[in-house]
């Protein structure tokens, strides 16, 4: 049997054992998201504009992560709106930065692997880089938005925060806890996942100048920075939307 298939089956079994029915639905979101990502690659390779394809699959992926398995409608709506806003801001930030930094395509360090290929394949590598950068941060954004939205909902229900300022402060405390762990997840996921690259760079006896300027290292670092910025933004936006909604609900004149 194929190794990947065997491990996927084990993952499914463990998720069901550990999470029951909700574990099963979580596994289902994984499969659907995998399918969407695969579709993205095929559409991009087929010549569709990468950024538009990414927006389509990105929004679908966000909706799936946020809505499947979370039943509270008000907090999932808050989370979804704030992730969409942050997605829009990140697109506006990443497009010019990517142009200025010229991070796309393949790096010199990869030349050995693509030796056999002619890389003049008529696609827009810059757009592909923008699409993949945004896609890779979406999971972290969605996770942070849900966690902040549901944590604040809890506080509102308990009646622990009376004024908007108190609600903001407790939202920030929740956000802070989530952010600390999310940064570590992103750091270990992105840098640890690229261990081979770091070993290679280390073997090359790279200088500080290499780290600050080479395409491959700059692109990995930018990925972590974009992810960090979008997580901070999504926490902030989720807090503000929740505060706004609560105020509107408490004020009978407006409603």
């Amino acid at each position: 049997m194929n190794t990947i298939m065997a491990l996927i089956i084990i993952l499914a079994l463990l998720m069901i054992l550990s999470g029951g029915r909700r574990g099963l639905s979580a596994f289902f979101t994984l499969i659907v998201n995998f399918g969407l990502l695969f579709l993205t690659v095929i559409l991009i390779a087929g010549g569709f504009p990468p950024v538009f394809v990414m927006m389509f699959t990105g929004i679908s992926i966000l909706a799936i992560i946020i809505y499947v398995g979370n039943n509270n409608e008000s907090q999932t709506n808050t989370a979804f709106i704030s992730t969409l806003l942050v997605l829009a801001v990140m697109i506006l930030l990443i497009i010019p930065m990517n142009y200025l930094m010229q991070i796309y395509g393949f790096s010199n360090e990869q030349s050995e692997e693509i030796e056999a290929f002619n890389v003049a394949i008529g696609v827009n590598f810059a757009s592909i880089a923008i699409a993949t950068t945004i896609l890779s941060t979406l999971g972290a954004i969605a996770e942070a938005a849900i966690a902040v939205a549901s944590g604040m909902e809890e506080i509102i229900e308990q009646g622990a925060a009376k004024t908007a300022q108190e609600l903001r402060t407790s939202g920030r405390n929740i956000g802070l806890q989530i952010m600390g762990m999310t940064f570590n997840t992103l750091f270990f996921g992105m840098f640890g996942g690229n261990l081979a690259l770091f070993i290679l760079i280390s073997k090359l006896d790279a200088s500080f100048g290499y780290y600050a300027n080479s395409k491959i290292f700059a692109s990995e670092t930018m990925l972590v920075i974009y992810a960090a910025i979008s997580v901070v933004l999504v926490i902030w936006v989720t807090i503000e939307i929740t505060v706004f909604k609560t105020n509107k609900g408490n004020n009978p004149k407006k409603s």
């Binding site: 194929n2 990947i4 491990l7 996927i8 993952l11 998720m15 550990s18 574990g23 979580a26 998201n33 995998f34 990502l37 993205t40 690659v41 390779a45 992560i65 200025l100 930094m101 991070i103 395509g105 692997e113 693509i114 890389v119 394949i121 008529g122 696609v123 590598f125 810059a126 592909i128 993949t132 896609l135 890779s136 941060t137 999971g139 972290a140 969605a142 996770e143 920030r172 802070l176 600390g180 999310t182 570590n184 997840t185 992103l186 750091f187 996921g189 840098f191 640890g192 996942g193 690229n194 081979a196 070993i199 290679l200 073997k203 100048g209 700059a218 930018m222 920075i225 910025i229 901070v232």
Partner: protein, 364 residues
């Protein structure tokens, strides 16, 4: 409040401007020669196509520039460049850009060849924007979380350096030990050194170790059927061990995330309701786990999978089949996500059990 925000924005802008000015004039700090492009002459554009029917354009350009450092500082040079419209490996140069170049001595005449584009200005500026944003939203505590990541980063570089200089056959051991150190340090910063630390650490350790054991066991049983470890990018050491090491470190972050979430919730529950029973604690832990499992595994799927896109597009455009492209470019990323998922699914019951057990024992 409004005034303060205005003040913070001014500082952000001022800092960005200072970083911009300093880092565009930092050529004297580099040993490598840096060329500032002063003029570009566009040459002819050729159409190119390959045997798969992909059409692209190649354009010649003559780039004129002035050296900003080294012993030839201030002298003018020119070089020829060809770029493709798609931009896979080559780059279109424009007036005002700074590039690293090598100076070649050729028959008494000096010539330059472009080496690397200068990216430090934007990298530093983005770092600055990130730190400012953290401070504006989270105040000083936000900046503190960055410090824990920085400590881990420095440690990570040291460990990689150790791996390179020791160069032992079973280098996986180095990363296994370093994973334990990473966990200990991160937890010490986030939860402090107390009983909660011990419980969380035990959960992370058993969850991660079990996930890796299962994975390695399955790889052995299926005899790595369908795996191409040699497709691992940048591999300079034994690919399978390298892949496992990368997976171990990659999954550590999420497993830590899940474990700290569960353990801290249960400790909090015990504090607010001292009479809560073992069963109740265990069940609450599992409930928290159900909430976070799906989003967490998806985080890793997106991180590991999106990075393979550029290579996969190259494979597809050169008419490779879906199966071939998948197994040579995407399967390792997917497997990393799957193994991390196994780790998360295992750490949820482990963390619930250990926390409930430790809290139960403290009452007796």
């Amino acid at each position: 409040m409004k005034k303060k925000l205005f003040f913070e924005c001014i500082i952000l802008l001022l800092g960005a401007i200072i970083i911009f000015i300093v880092s565009t004039h930092d050529a004297f700090l580099y040993k490598q020669s840096i060329l500032q492009v002063t003029r570009v002459e566009q040459g002819k554009t050729f159409k190119s196509s390959d045997e798969y029917g992909n059409h692209d354009k190649k354009t010649d350009q003559t780039v004129y520039g002035i050296l900003l450092n080294s012993k030839k500082k201030g002298e003018k040079f020119k070089f020829q460049n060809t770029y493709t419209a798609s931009g896979g490996l080559s780059q279109k140069y424009q007036k005002g850009q700074q590039l690293f170049v090598t100076l070649n001595h050729d028959n008494g005449k000096f010539e330059v060849t472009p080496l690397n584009y200068k990216r430090d200005t934007y990298l530093f500026m983005m770092c600055w924007i990130m730190v400012c944003l953290l401070f504006m939203v989270m105040k000083i505590d936000g900046v503190r979380t960055i410090i824990s990541v920085l400590i881990n980063f420095v440690l990570f570089l040291i460990i990689v350096q150790l791996d390179v200089s020791w160069n032992i056959t079973n280098f996986f051991i180095i990363f296994a030990v370093s994973a334990i150190i990473f966990t200990a340090i991160t937890l010490a910063i986030i939860v402090g050194i107390n009983r909660q630390f011990v419980v969380t650490f035990a959960a992370i350790f058993s969850g991660t170790a079990l996930a890796l054991l299962i994975s390695v066991g399955v790889m052995w049983l299926t005899q790595d059927n369908g795996m191409h470890y040699e497709a691992l990018d940048f591999a300079t050491q034994q690919p399978k061990q390298l892949f496992l090491s990368a997976t171990l470190i990659g999954l550590l972050g999420t497993v830590m995330d899940a474990a700290t979430d569960i353990v801290s919730t249960l400790f909090e529950l015990k504090r607010s309701q001292p009479e809560v029973s073992f069963q109740q604690l265990y069940r609450s832990g599992r409930e928290v786990g159900k909430d976070i499992m799906g989003p967490l595994i998806n985080v890793l799927l997106l991180i590991f999978f999106a990075e393979t896109f550029t290579m996969a597009v190259l494979y597809f455009r050169t008419k490779n089949t879906i199966g071939y492209t998948f197994s040579w470019t995407m399967s390792l990323g997917l497997l990393q996500a799957v193994i991390s998922g196994i780790g998360i699914a295992l750490v949820i019951p482990a963390a619930s059990l250990f926390a409930a057990w430790s809290l139960e024992r403290s009452r007796a």
